[in-house]
Subunit: 387 residues, 2 copies
């Protein structure tokens, strides 16, 4: 039996597992130190009341034969797909119900969508980048071209027509840089994709953090994107669902991809937990929207605390507005893993070394706004006095 040799081309371990291991090691040798984690983008606020209530009710249903639910539709219950459909109209995007697929999170679908494409496609990926885009394509043996995101372009690369791409990854608001494309810039990408006959895999996991006007929440706010883009969204950051697991993926009807994705999902997936889907539905209710808005404001306030501190220290960064991420330049030209170790040791603060996101991250460091406010303030004070 032959193994998939492409796995040999992967780094030894996944970025966040490496960080977790380093932190565990440090804590083991320094049990008295209180480590503050502003590294992995994990939320800290509890689920909001509407979500808890909806899930509690669904548990009652599951405990009675008359209301018990077995297998769900693989593409998600209509009650949740309708809620997503309605949510999109806020941004003047009209979707058909069958274009909406409920997932157990954007990570799974961003990875699994690659089942639809031949291994012989050229993939265009920004650098720095969420490692999942890279690793999943390496596992399939696809050719990857990186596009540089750096200080020169404000970490927002634009299309280069001398390069041909088949599959294009965009993430806006960006992970890890927090940078955000405006409508004109996104339109340039859509035009380029149509010219190349490429597909855009648009990661909108952080769209709910956008509050400035004139920045698209969905790539379908550019009308032509409907012909060439798949959009991935998640309730992980929007509603604190990192441990609950629910997201949604939009695959427009006007491509073959919709049918293929339906076939993929009905064959290789069995739908999302009923209770989770009821919880997700509640996120889109009126009360749910109000409650999650308070959570988002809370995190955005943390982002402001961090970015203001960096401002006062004169450190360059992107993000921090319309985004839960702050992407800072490491001080003293320090290497990012060196800065990671330095921060862990000197400030007992965990961030994410930019190097883990690509070569353009070698001198950068990602901080997240998902901690609690007290910890964020303390972390910032510790950082200030360490550098």
């Amino acid at each position: 039996m032959k193994l998939n040799d492409n796995f040999n081309n992967l780094n030894n371990s996944y970025l966040f597992s490496t960080i977790a291991r380093k932190v565990t090691e440090y804590q083991k040798h320094n049990p008295e130190k209180r480590i503050i984690k502003l590294g992995i983008g994990d939320v800290t606020l509890p689920l909001c009341e509407s979500v808890i209530n909806a899930m509690r009710n669904s548990l009652n249903e599951m405990s009675e034969a008359a209301t018990f639910r077995g297998y769900a539709p693989e593409q998600g219950y209509e009650f949740l797909r309708s809620a997503v459909q309605k949510y999109y109209t806020k941004y003047s995007v009209q979707l058909e119900l069958n274009e909406i697929f409920i997932s157990d999170g954007a990570k799974s679908d961003l990875a699994n969508i690659l089942d639809l494409f031949d291994a012989d496609n050229t993939v265009l990926i920004p650098d720095p980048v969420y490692p999942v885009y890279v690793d999943t394509n390496i596992m399939n043996g696809r050719k990857i071209i990186y596009m540089d995101a750096n200080r020169n372009n404000g970490f927002l690369p634009l299309p280069d027509y001398t390069v041909h791409a088949d599959i294009i990854y965009l993430c806006s608001p960006n992970n890890p840089t927090g940078a955000l494309y405006n409508k004109e810039q996104l339109k340039m990408w859509v035009d380029y994709a149509l010219e190349c006959d490429a597909v855009i895999l648009f990661d909108a996991a952080y769209e709910s953090f956008i509050s400035s006007e004139n920045f698209p929440h969905s790539i379908y706010e550019i009308a032509e994107a409907y012909k060439c883009a798949i959009e991935f969204c998640s309730l992980s950051k929007t509603a604190g669902f990192t441990g609950v697991r629910c997201g949604y993926t939009i695959v427009p009807n006007c491509t073959h991809l919709n049918n293929m994705w339906l076939r993929r999902q009905t064959t290789k997936f069995n739908g999302v937990s009923y209770m989770v889907q009821r919880g997700a539905q509640a996120v889109f209710s009126e009360s749910g929207q109000q409650e999650i808005q308070l959570m988002i404001e809370y995190y955005k306030n943390n982002a402001k605390i961090i970015s203001s501190a960096l401002d006062s220290m004169g450190i360059y960064y992107t993000g921090g507005v319309n985004s839960p991420y702050i992407w800072m330049q490491c001080p003293y030209e320090m290497d990012s893993w060196k800065f990671f170790d330095y921060m862990l040791d000197q400030a007992n603060v965990v961030g994410t070394p930019g190097d883990g996101f690509g070569k353009n991250g070698k001198k950068h460091f990602r901080l997240t706004a998902f901690g609690n406010s007290e910890d964020t303030i303390e972390a910032i004070n510790r950082i200030k006095s360490s550098i």
Copy 2:
């Protein structure tokens, strides 16, 4: 951009979607008819008390900042993996914790495990078979060899050393036939796999229905299987989790596959919902085991109702003991889709046409024991008076 052309080699739609469409159509034209579904293997009893209580408690935790949980380990929480580990000792199987991976169901993992193997492998699949094994390999363009399961071998094919295989699918108790390998027969498969340097993908989703002595619940009851087999199990049928979504996959350490699967899961999956994992843990508690045993007995009683009726009609079948499935020969040499339509129309009973499971199913029909008892009795009476 090039699509994955292997999708063109798939049947137009997934078996159970086709059935669902036919039933919806019939119901639309015959709204007054009460259809009884003994088709798809979906459970009908509500979740047991221990599971409901555990999930309710976990919801309380998720509603408070102090006890809230974000991202879970991709391979599952240790509390659940420990519970699975302990469960296996019942069958004298000793597993390391890192060999146990929590999944959102056996279907996902049975499909996703193929990421670890090269497309250039020969796959040996019994016919009739759960369609997921076939379709997922077609999507990857792998060569498939079918092994005939039929009346001659009691629907339990054994190794043929003149055939070389790299990946071997076994399911025992079998879906769709309900047939069950004994220890000696499974050992023949393990010996053959070792001889071929093949991997066995062992689907144990129905193991909890085994009550007869001397039939293995786990393939690891054959010691050498540890070197060549991956086992997939699910709480869907064991504890009524079809709509809850939780299973577990065993990938032994002594192969490269354990590391590869960990890398696959940490990269392409983000773990199972915390509440679901707490519910699953409760299944393995003392009270949980007692409660699910009652559910299993209930379904097994349905199986007995069906099989006794077939006995009285002199119809050949397999399964019905140690299995929730009854695999019957269609009467009057009828074709299975014809019998499906006939049953839907004349008895308003939905079963699964054997043809959907492969060529050896063309004259067979699968009934499941997962209905409620009253419906099962009524369905059997209707079937009796229609044929």
